[in-house]
Symmetry: C2
Subunit: 395 residues, 2 copies
C-alpha cells in the first residue's frame, strides 16, 4: 500500500448497486459497508475505549470544530495526536467542522441562543464559540491545519452545507464555495502520506448541483468521496433520489461515505445505491434517551411501564455485553428511572453492538449474494421506522 489508504472491492450485488469492500488505513483494516461510531469530543459518549472496541467498532469519528474549541488542537498535538490523546488504537476520522458551524449557528448554539450567525465569505467562516462566545475563524486552510494536528486516519475537506430547505441559488452558492474550498483543502494538506483526505459533495436535492459538485471534486482529486447535505430533513425519498443520481458520478474504485446517516433502513437503502461508509449519532444518542434497537425492527422505549417486571434481555438475539451479561429490560428501566449513569453505558453498548452486528450481517449477505432479501426484510421490519434527521452538530 502506498499512501494512507487502499480500497478494494470484494464483491458487488447483482440486483442493486451495493458493494462489499475492504479499506486499509493506517490503524487497521476496515470491512465495508462500515458504520463508524461518533465520538465528537474525543470519547464515544458514556463508553470507555475497551467498551467501544467490544462493540466491534473499527472507526471512531472526532470533530474538528469541537476539538479545536476544547481541548484545542495544540493540546492534542502536544499529546501526540488524537489516537494517543484518547487511547483509541484503531482508525479515526475527523469531520472538517463545516457542518457544525452551520448547525450550531442555526440553533443558536448550546447556551448561546442570542449569538449572531456566523459570517461566511470566500475566505472562510467567522463564528462565536458555543462554549464562551469567543470569536473563531475557520477556513479550509485552518480546518486542514487542525486536522493535520489531530492526526486522524481520514480527514475531510472543509465544506458549506446549506440548510434544508434552501432556495436553489443559496444551494448553488454553497456548492460553488464548497468546490473552491475543496481545492484549497487539498492544497493545505500537509500529511498526505499519513492521512487520507475525502471531498464532500454538496448540492442539496438539486441533481444538477450534485453533478456540478461531484465534477468539481473529482477534478481536485481525493482519496474518497463523501455525500453531505443529506439527512437534514429532506426525507427518505429525496435521499434515495439524490443517491441514485450522485453515486454513479463518483469514482467506482474509491470509497463513498454518506455523512450523518442513519437508521438501519436508511443505511440499507444507501448501501443498495453504492455507499460504503456511514456515521450517525442515532445508536448512541437514542441509547441515552432509553431507546434501544432490536432485531425485530422495533425500538424499545425502556422507560415504558410495561418493562417494569420484564426480566428478559433487551434483545434475546443480541450478542452485546449488556444482553449477554444478564441485564434485563426491568433493570435498565429502573436505572433510567432513577437517572443512574450506568444506564447510559449499558444501553449504548447495546445499540452500538446492534449497529455493528447489523453491518456485519449486511456484509455477510453481500458476500452470500443475499443482499436483496436482506434489504427486503429490513424494508418490511422498518416500515414504520423514522428517518434520522441530522439536526444538530452535537452527538
Amino acid at each position: 500500500m502506498s499512501g494512507p489508504i487502499a480500497f478494494s472491492l470484494l464483491g458487488r450485488d447483482e440486483n442493486t448497486k451495493a458493494r462489499r469492500g475492504r479499506l486499509v488505513l493506517p490503524h487497521g483494516t476496515v470491512e465495508t459497508p462500515v458504520f463508524m461510531a461518533v465520538g465528537t469530543r474525543g470519547a464515544v459518549k458514556a463508553l470507555t475505549i475497551d467498551q467501544v472496541h467490544a462493540t466491534g467498532t473499527e472507526v471512531v469519528l472526532g470533530n474538528t470544530y469541537h476539538l479545536a474549541l476544547r481541548p484545542g488542537a495544540e493540546v492534542v498535538r502536544a499529546a501526540g495526536g488524537l489516537h494517543r490523546f484518547t487511547g483509541w488504537t484503531r482508525n479515526m476520522l475527523t469531520d472538517s467542522g463545516g457542518f457544525q458551524v452551520w448547525s450550531l449557528a442555526t440553533r443558536g448554539g448550546r447556551g448561546g441562543g442570542d449569538m449572531a450567525p456566523p459570517e461566511v465569505s470566500e475566505k472562510g467562516v467567522r463564528f462565536r464559540s458555543h462554549y464562551d462566545g469567543s470569536l473563531l475563524d475557520l477556513s479550509p486552510e485552518k480546518s486542514i491545519e487542525i486536522q493535520n494536528a489531530l492526526g486522524a486516519d481520514v480527514i475531510m475537506a472543509f465544506d458549506e452545507c446549506a440548510p434544508h430547505p434552501s432556495p436553489k441559488e443559496a444551494v448553488a452558492a454553497a456548492v460553488a464555495r464548497t468546490s473552491l474550498w475543496a481545492a484549497r483543502s487539498r492544497g493545505a494538506h500537509q500529511r498526505r502520506e499519513e492521512q487520507a483526505l475525502f471531498g464532500i459533495v454538496q448540492g442539496g436535492v438539486f441533481l444538477d448541483l450534485r453533478d456540478e459538485s461531484a465534477t468539481a471534486l473529482r477534478k481536485v482529486g481525493f482519496d474518497g468521496y463523501a455525500v453531505g447535505g443529506l439527512s437534514v430533513g429532506e426525507g427518505p425519498e429525496q435521499m434515495a433520489r439524490v443517491l441514485d443520481h450522485t453515486c454513479p458520478r463518483l469514482p467506482e474504485e474509491q470509497p463513498r461515505y454518506l455523512m450523518g446517516v442513519g437508521t438501519p433502513i436508511d443505511i440499507c437503502e444507501a448501501v443498495s445505491r453504492g455507499i460504503d461508509m456511514f456515521d450517525c449519532v442515532l445508536p448512541t444518542r437514542n441509547a441515552r434517551n432509553a431507546q434501544v434497537f432490536t432485531w425485530s425492527g422495533e425500538q424499545l422505549k425502556l422507560r415504558n411501564a410495561r418493562f417494569r417486571e420484564d426480566f428478559s434481555p433487551l434483545d434475546p438475539l443480541c450478542s452485546c455485553a449488556t444482553c449477554k451479561g444478564g441485564f434485563t429490560r426491568a433493570y435498565l428501566r429502573h436505572l433510567f428511572s432513577v437517572e443512574e449513569v450506568t444506564a447510559l453505558t449499558l444501553a449504548t453498548i447495546h445499540n452500538l453492538t446492534f449497529y455493528q452486528d447489523f453491518m456485519g450481517k449486511m456484509r455477510e449477505a453481500l458476500l452470500q449474494g443475499q443482499f436483496a432479501s436482506f434489504l427486503e426484510k429490513w424494508r418490511h421490519l422498518c416500515r414504520n421506522g423514522d428517518s434520522s434527521p441530522r439536526e444538530t452538530g452535537d452527538d
Copy 2:
C-alpha cells in the same frame, strides 16, 4: 460454616487494636479490613458490574429506602433478588433505610424542600417519598421484610440516627428506640440461614449512651455489629474517642462495621481501633466531582488548568484500568470540561481501585506486622486531609 456468616481473625496488630480477619458470606470470602462500594440504587454510579469487579471490590451496598421506592421490593423479589436483578454475583449488603429517612428529611429531600419532616413513633417512621411525595411507612418489621425480599448477604437492623449536634435527651431517646427496634428487627428476620443481620450501635458522642446501646444490642444478639451515627460532622477527634470507647464493648469474635466512613486516614484510624468493615460514598462521589485520590496523599482536582497538558497518568503508581490504559490527566481534564459521561466512569474506576488497593496494602501491613508504620505514613500524608461528613443519604 453454619448460617450465613463465619468470621475468623487471622491476626492482630501488636501496637494497636487493629485486626486482620476473614469473612465468609454466601457469595464469597471477604478479607478484612474491607471497603464496600456504595451502590444505593442497585448500581455503583457510572460503572458496569465488570468494571466494579475489576476494581477489586467484593461487597456492594444497596439501600432499603431507595430500592423500596424505586423499583420497589416486589420488583426485585420478582427478579429473584438483588443479585439477580443487578447482575452482581459477589456479596451484597443492604442498609436498613433508617439513616436515609432522617438525612433526606433533614435536607428536605431531593426536589422536595417543602416536605414535612418524617413522623417518628415507637411503631416506626412515616415519611414522604423524595421522588413523588407519596406517603410511606418504614418500621423495623417493614425494613426487614424488604431486606428479606432484596436478599442481600448482610442486612441491617432498622435504627434511628440522631443528627449531630443533638441534645443528650434526643440522642438518648434515639438510642432507646434503636434498642427496641433492634429486638423487633431480629424478631422479624425470616431468612436467618441465608442473610446475616447486623445491629447498629447509636449514641452520638455520649459514651454512656454508646455503652447503653452496645449492651442492648448484645443482649438481642446479632451476626455482626455496626457503629452508626459517626462521620456526621462530629470531627475526627470525637470519632476516635467514640471508637476507642465503643469497640472494646463489642464482641471480639464478630465483625465490626463503621458505617459511612471515610477518607483513607479515617479508615486507618478506625482500623487501629478495631473496626473491620467500611463503606463510603467518597471515592465514587469525589470521582464524579473530578477529584481523584493518589498515593502521595494529595487529591487531584482534575478541572484545574495545570493539568491541561499533563500527559501523565492520574497516578503513576496506580494499577487501575484508567491509569494502565494510558488515559492521562489532560484527557480526563478535557472530558470533565466538556461534560462527557466517560469522565465519570474513568475517574470512578480509578478512585475505587485506589481504595481497594489501599485496603489491600493495609491488610498486607497487618499480616507483616507493619501496620503501625503504615498508619504513621498515612497520618503524615493526610495531615491536611478532610474528614468525610456523611451529610446525605444519597450516593
